[in-house]
Amino acid sequence: MAVALGASVTGASFGAISVGSGLPWWMPVLMSVVIFAGGSQFMAVGIVAAGGSPAAAVLAGLVLNARHLPFGLAVGHVLGNGWLARVVGSHLMIDESTAFAMSQRDPARARAAYWACGVSLFVTWNVGVLIGALAGQALGDPMTFGLDAAFPAAMLALTLPALKDAATRNAALTGAVIALATTPFLPAGMPVLLALAGLVAFRTTTKKEEPCPSPQS
């Protein structure tokens, strides 16, 4: 399953880069089990690694994960009816499991697709993070290995598909300019949050159907 393999590679990158930024090996592992949302994990580690406050990291991560609310409204009915199924199923709600469920018309098949995708990605993502974190310990000083470049490159790769949409691209570029312009004057972490002001440039021009809600996991 190509998606699951991709998740373990991304997870291994997250583990290695996190350890390279100075975190103990178990920290990316704990994050992946407890948070299980790759984009916000990269985001939180990146903000803290750049000297930002944990509060800014948490806030940015929560705004990033706000997109799971519409996911849940769209696929909430496929999780199952019991409380246990709803609780566990909610934790497995990621871009991929949501997309797989929405691609199935038949409710039973949608439910099977959601759980199969969610469970297999939870396992492969966390195994990948563990392997990456342990391997990252052997790497040493991240600056000499260029791991500080690997981190933004990884996030850029996660972001790129969403930038195809012109309105999103305009907002994101405006936000990036705001973040860069304010970086010399503000404590680390704040410029990234301030980038949300770039959303004033977000104008959906025509009513087009977006087939894919968002590409980040």
Binding site: A149, A171, A195, S214, Q216
Partner: protein, 102 residues
Amino acid sequence: MPVTAVLILGAGTFLIRFAGPLLRNRFTLPDKVRDVISASATVLLLALVAVSALTNGKQFGGWALAAGVLVGGLAAWRKLPFVAVIVLAAATTAGLRFLGVS
């Protein structure tokens, strides 16, 4: 990264996820709001990419770092595998630093 921050982010993320299945019969989200939520994720990610690719947290972060991220970005744009994006970015930056470019 304190453990408390991880637990708060984890709990908050869970509540956001859990709210959907819980509220879906009583509540619909306007398309416009859904689009803005989706766009804000991309805005945050690209802003962090820009800041961590071009600065050290205060000022310009050096040509080696910027070039490495650029090479990684090009690799991603050319649809190279994720691991190739990361290795190319890190190798470019490390190589330039080895050659004395900061």
